[in-house]
Symmetry: C2
Subunit: 272 residues, 2 copies
């Protein structure tokens, strides 16, 4: 029997499935964990979603996503902090120990300015995280998202913030899709591990060619990302948590989602 | 009167125009230079294209493009070298002192392996470049093109190769679209300048949102690239050559190309 106890599925990967159906499907393939996207909480509501998750036997690995901190307006930055406190409350309700941060970027200001605002915002949230016992994973996003989604585009930048803040509640989420191209990746993964700051690990693949900037990720093995190599680096750095499959794909969302989960099992076994 | 003597237009920017029409249009707006894409040579042929360029009064800044060196097959790598020698011959015929290199990547092997093959290939071409008196500009491409277009994705990587090869015939082409997100950009531009290796400078803008991975570049000023800042760094590093407008845009190619050139004049004046 294959062991899928370290396999975690993101609800966004099977976006067409309502949360209760998704939970059943993930149980059926023997997945060990689930990462919940906030939009997946809407149909059933937070309380009912939490009840289903608690009784599911699936480990709730993280809640996606907080962040979007920078803005040229101080009022908007304050609103973002309030919103992130609500995300922390939701994580508590769901039993999720970790929130993934897509940190944001504001086109009207420099990336450097945005990075400073991101660091300030995370620092401001730490007391609330300590109280809630919920951690924050800074996810470096691919440089093609530097315009509006994240000014944190390399693991080096995430590590710099993590090191300066020095809190056990702030670490990194490493997604192979975003970082595979970086020639400093091995070094920075090791550095992140030394800080005990590899909080989570996401996999999928980069299709060649990629047809859409957002929703054309591929199943592991179908593209050019050296997934197994990166997994090895992450594990050598001391990470032995869940391996999370996070795929945004208009193409895959169109198909049968149970079949997709079986393809994910195969791809996980053969290419991760 | 505005001075457009440092303004150079890439033929791809006005792709619908045949080379003779493009030359006339660039003269009309007072542009100082032209960079010729190889596809623009096809309708009139190399000799007639060369004759028109020579008589145009426009400075031929560079020929786009050579490169595409890596392959998992040694035979293909040899073919790529032969093809690049043909590109050098064409540059001589056109009076172009520089060839821009889109270095290539081979999905079947690691980026590190591809980078090694790129360096070997460029080294192999140096004697031919010396003989022809044609220089090669390594253009770092945005990491979203690391799958198949280029394994050189940062100016740091280009500078490393330039430094190791140590030839006055090998330098860098810096395109703001590809490098704007990089937090080491200022440092690496200075480093490149110290090697006298900033061979050319391309501008356009990154649209927010960007709708296509390849053909959705924007006019300078319409996006989030700090063009003026990067130009300042490049000039502080000693570069005072042409400022080349290279825009791939399905949207802009659909419109009147003479109007587009007038928009480029305005954008060049106000945002570069």
């Amino acid at each position: 029997m294959d062991d899928f106890s370290r396999l975690c599925i993101h609800t966004i990967t099977t976006k067409p499935l309502r949360l209760d159906i998704a939970i059943g499907a993930y149980q059926q393939i023997g997945a060990g964990g689930i990462t919940v996207w906030r939009d997946a909480l809407i149909p059933l509501g937070l309380q009912e979603s939490a009840r289903l998750l608690t009784g599911s036997g699936l480990e709730v690995v993280s809640l996606c996503r907080g962040g979007f901190f920078p803005s040229t307006s101080a009022g908007e930055r304050q609103k973002a902090l309030d919103e992130n406190r609500r995300v922390i409350d939701e994580a508590v309700a769901l039993g999720a120990p970790l929130i993934v941060l897509v940190c944001g970027a504001a086109p009207g200001q420099s990336l450097q300015e945005s990075r400073g605002q991101i660091e300030d915002a995370i620092a401001a949230l730490i007391p609330y995280c300590e109280q809630a016992n919920v951690r924050l994973g800074i996810e470096p996003l691919h440089p093609m998202y530097a315009d509006t989604r994240s000014a944190i585009n390399t693991l080096a930048q995430a590590n710099d913030i993590i090191q300066r803040l020095g809190s056990p509640y702030v670490g990194a989420t490493i997604d192979v899709y975003h970082v595979w191209w970086d020639d400093r990746l091995e070094t920075e993964i090791a550095r992140c591990g030394k800080m005990n700051a590899i909080f989570s690990f996401h996999v999928c693949d980069w299709r060649c060619p990629t047809r859409d900037l957002l929703n054309d990720r591929g199943l592991m093995g179908c593209g050019c990302v050296p997934i197994r190599q990166i997994r090895q680096w992450v594990e050598q750095a001391g990470f032995h948590g869940m391996i999370e499959v996070e795929i945004f794909s208009d193409e895959l969302w169109k198909g049968d989602q149970m079949e997709l989960l079986q393809q994910i099992q195969r791809a996980y076994r053969e290419c991760v």
